[in-house]
Amino acid sequence: MDKHKGHPPKLGQKLLSFLGHYEWKYFVSGDCGEEFKERVQENGRCRALLWYWEQVVYALAAYSKISTAVGGTMLKNYIKITWRNIKNNKIYSFINIMGLAVGMACCILILLWIQDELSFDKFHENYGDIYRTIPELQGTKYSSNPLALAGVFKEQYPEVRQISRFYQMFWLMKHGDKIYEERGALVDDDFLSMFTFPLIQGTPETVFASRDSIVLTERAAGKFFGTQDPIGKSLLVNNSAELIVTGVLKDVPLNSHLQFDFLASMRLMGAREHTSWSYEARTYALLEKDVSLPDFADKISGFVMEHDKRTKQKVVLHIQPLSKVHLYSLNGPDPVIYVYIFSTIAVAILIIACINFINLSTARSNTRAKEIGMRKVVGAERADIIKQFIGESMILSAVALLVALGMVYLFLPAFNNLAEKQLTLNIAGNVSTMFLLPGIILFTGLASGSYPAFMLSSFKPVNMLRRGKLQSGSGGFVLRRILVVGQFAATIVLIIGTIIMYKQLNYIMNKDIGLDRDHVLAISMNGELRESYKSFKNEIKQFPNVLNVSAARRIPTNIGHVNPVYWEGKGPEDYVTMTDASVDYDYFETLGMQIIQGRSFSEEYATDRENYVLNEEALRVTGLESPIGKMFSCWEDEGKIIGIVKNFHTRSLHSEIGPVIFTLSQRHGPHNYIFVKIRQDDISGTIASLEKKAAEFAPNDLFEYSFLDDEFNRQYVNDQRRGDIYKYFTYLAIFISCLGLFGMASFTAEQRTKEIGIRKVLGASTPNIIILISKDFLVLLFVSNVIAWPIAYYLMDKLLNNYAYRTSIAAWVFIASGMMAVCIALLTVCIKIVKVAHSNPVDSLRYE
């Protein structure tokens, strides 16, 4: 037998050797080791190991029981003293525990948030092997792929095990008298076996056996069918097609980037699903386990150009692993930086809270000098004192943690609301929180207890007993100042960060985007309304509060599909791609977009049906000198350029403006939205009359509308949410810092009670005294500002560099943040000091 195999595990031996007293270590580890060897021979190593560890754990538990019984007297004394200290200094204890508790609560909330962000899409069994294909055109990456790509891609590359498209759809679905608009997608047959979206009814292989089948989530099925069995029931989709329910899915978890309430078969697209090279559907591929990614990425990069024969424009195909979909964006800033930002905040807040603790305990060490001197005289060693103080801070932080857990429990619903998540504090069921919580206690206990412990234990007992306090100017003083400065510097950086983030958000939300999005209604248009659109438009145009009416296939935030175009001087075999927006007459007028050359679409010209309007960026791409009247073509639809519209932002301002062309043609699908520009006054009245009119024309459709500015702002919903979270944590950081400052101020005031009394007797006024004491703090705050500003500038500059359009870092932000911090801090200090300054000098002189 292998010699090594007979030995018991090293770690176990080590653990057993901790059993210091009563020669336990000899007995247990010796005996255990001996029997372990026998067992290896008899039962095999695996069973023996199991047995060994059982013995180790049990022995440790049994030993710890004994040792507390023996060392219990001292431990009891420590706990008693800790408790007395808490009781006798209610303010300090409150500040200590509250500060730590708030800090820990923040930390836990943020960590829960981070944990959730990192958990995105991880529930898929094939998580590590699923990739999506990402085409890059003119430097911009898209999640939409050519429809026909998937089929050819799988055929060409044996590395691809399964592939599925995901074509997002919003469908108006009807069953009996129930009508709802649902979000869902067309997918390929492999979708349900690639991804782990478990079916409650139906099997992944057969649900899409028939072309006209639809799979609903539990939520959607409940909405339509209540408690009835949905299988085999039919749904009328968009008033045109009947689909049969063949399966029910579990609801899609919130931490999935794919969100849908129904799935239907891609075959519903008809022949176009295999022929169209227009960029419409997301494509996911499940790769074989042993694929070398860099090689594969190399191989596929030219795929689109190879197959989409007409393109001469460079299209690079990338792959992106599922793990990067949520936290990395294709263009613009990666949301993952928020994970870093928030982790930093969590740590910063915890450190700020720990600094409070250190400051207050060192400040108060004077009062405990006698106790420590006494302990040392009676025979405590330095190690004992250190143990006592670290233990004390551990106890305090454990208490704080309990309070913090209470807070988290209370505020989790509010936080979930703010973050739009469904986080739960599931301590027992979650392995990482089980490590996290003791970790937090250990960290705060050590970080906040070690300085006082080492400092206090180092003094000579003679001095401590004789004077009853430590020598003035002893170690803690300078350190305390440094810590306060550090604490406030961190707080100021957080304040500056908050202001700049809001400034940036404000900037992108209010920037002139080249179209007028205020007071524009977007009404969704379905079958019936679509048929009578013209007369509907004419009638509502008569309303006094309606300024203009138009329609389009899509909302401007997601204006169209990327399609191949060519123009005079550039043939169809040599095309580039641009975003193709299908709109109706009066579009530019309704949305307040400015025509800078030529004219807009007009019903007076019959040929306008084939003509095009380009945006400035598209014109720049074509390089045409005098574009008006030049031949232009999208797909095979030739027409003329009749106008140029000023650049406007379509997608979020995180990314730059791309080339867009406008056409009246509805070849890629009918118009889905009516845009109505209305007057500012009596908006609700106008909407009511629009709804009435719509009901006349389309009694079977839902009247659904949204405001265009909301649609635009919805793109920043995540930024706004993160900004809010950040803001609240900054408030809390300020609060914790002020708690600490308040404690320090009370301490200073207490220390200088006699001095203040004498000054008052000699004629100092209350303001004099306030200035005297707050002067010290003012200097500290000033230094904090000086330190915080460059750090904040550096960090914010880095952050803003992630945005395509960024606000400036103005000087006032720094000054304002600094002033704010100073004001809040002085206010805190003054609350305490005013009381002292007002007190009767007789009392303060009699003090001590």
């Binding site: 030995h7 018991p8 031996q13 009563y22 020669e23 336990w24 000899y26 007995f27 247990v28 580890s29 010796g30 005996d31 255990c32 080791g33 001996e34 029997e35 060897k37 059982e54 013995q55 049990y58 022995a59 440790l60 538990a61 049994a62 030993y63 029981k65 004994i66």
Partner: protein, 106 residues
């Protein structure tokens, strides 16, 4: 005097039975066999500690053997106090059973 627990009685009995060979491993195995239930080292040494402190047993260090990772075996023997305590327990047990001899246990 406090009565011995059942476990203590079993350990003391095992030490007597094992004579010169009474050390951790052998005691544990014997007691385990006797009571037909698992006995952990932690429990065993807890009890042995108690017995040592009550001075019912004494220990002697044996020779160091490489097979035990350099740790010597510790052998236990009963003191006269220990023997008395075990005898008391025996008498007590017997008294308990005799006191119900006229009833039948069924």
């Amino acid at each position: 005097m406090k009565e011995l627990t059942l476990l203590e009685q079993m350990i003391l009995a095992a030490i007597i039975a094992l004579k010169e060979d009474a050390y951790g491993v052998s005691i544990r195995k014997r007691v385990e066999k006797l009571r037909g239930k698992k006995l952990m080292y932690g429990t065993l040494y807890n009890a042995l500690d108690q017995l040592l402190r009550k001075e019912y047993v004494t220990k002697t260090k044996g020779t160091t053997s490489s097979e035990r990772g350099g740790r010597p075996r510790i052998y236990y023997t009963l003191t006269s106090d220990g023997k008395n305590a075990l005898r008391d327990s025996y008498n007590l047990q017997r008294a308990i059973w005799e006191s119900i001899s006229e009833f039948r246990l069924d």
